[in-house]
Amino acid sequence: MPSSREIRNKIKSVKNTQKITRAMEMVAASKMRKAQDRMKKARPYGEKIRNVAAHMSNASVEYRHPFLISRDSVKRVGIIVVTSDKGLCGGLNTNVLRRALNEIRTWETEGNHVDACCIGNKGLGFMSRLGTQVISQVTGLGDAPNMERLIGAVKVVLDAYTEGQLDRVYIFYNRFINTMKQMPVMEQLLPLTDDRISSEDGEARPTRAPWDYIYEPEAKPVIDDIMVRYIEALVYQAVAENMASEQSARMVAMKAASDNAGNLIDELTLIYNKSRQAAITKELSEIVGGAAAV
């Protein structure tokens, strides 16, 4: 049986760990609320721009944007992988990366080349270990998804798509379902699928005579701008969801860790008391034995 001093040290160290996990749990809980707020605030923009895209697809536009045209042969696939920068959030990153890995394997066996854009440190590390070509990256986003910092990384992917270096683009992230549940998902970003450009409420526009917008200054640049912003909004939304997922996953993971530490402390205390009792009993019997000998 280990000495009582050893056990006491062990208990102390577990208690310290528990303090840390409990603090992290509380920090994550307060950040989670903010992250969820941000996620909800980002929604109207996504909806509005989607409506505009839907109107545009209804209008008899003379110019069809490349993002809307699906290509027959797919040779190169682009993926945007959204992960967190930090760990200690349960299986969150592992799940989404496993999902991505499965897809990458399938594409590679089909002979497709895969280019990755990594948002978040964990995904970046994983992709470079895997040997996947990383064409752009953003890390260290902090607690708020920052549009300013996302633009560059997304533009690299969009440019590659427009130039024909990528034939399809997918995005991987954790969808926030509720505090206890996050789901790793894969969504097709490019070419834009029909359900992404029909308006959310499925409103059937009264069939009017063919109409089109007045564009200022010209159709092409305006439509280009809208499309780029739409994709950016989708990526932004994904990042915001992933951040909310990250904080809630961390909160749950840290809660489990604190609980486990509590259990461990209980068990160790029991062992400690037992060993203390044994020592006392031993000492007593020695004294009694000694007295009897005299």
Partner: protein
Amino acid sequence: MGTIFHLDIVSAEESIYSGPAEFIVAPAVMGEVGIFPQHTPMLTRIKSGVVRVKAPLQDDEEVYVSGGMLEVQPDVVTILADTAVRGKDLDEAKALEAKRKAEEIMKNKISEIEYARAQAELIEATAQLAAIQKLRKRGH
């Protein structure tokens, strides 16, 4: 109907204004545009500036936007405001930055692999050397 329209001003980070309006003035790239209800559909870029909103039974409201897009439908007007400062060159620079960082990491990774390979070769070579020396000792 007919005298008001619904106005939404949204940015990626939040919804800035949502409600009825009688008339707005927005800084479009080709010059300021004033929009009344039942305007013909229009799509344009806007510069950074102030959007003046005349809401029914209220004083004029002024909302600052740092550029974005303006969509006009007869009953609905949407302003998609940019949160980031945009510009063709600026976006380009950001893209290059993101690309460069990624390339740097790829390069580092290759050097890491090379380092690991060199290390493995070194270990093998030293092992061979040791074996040869042992053999020599035994055989004299």
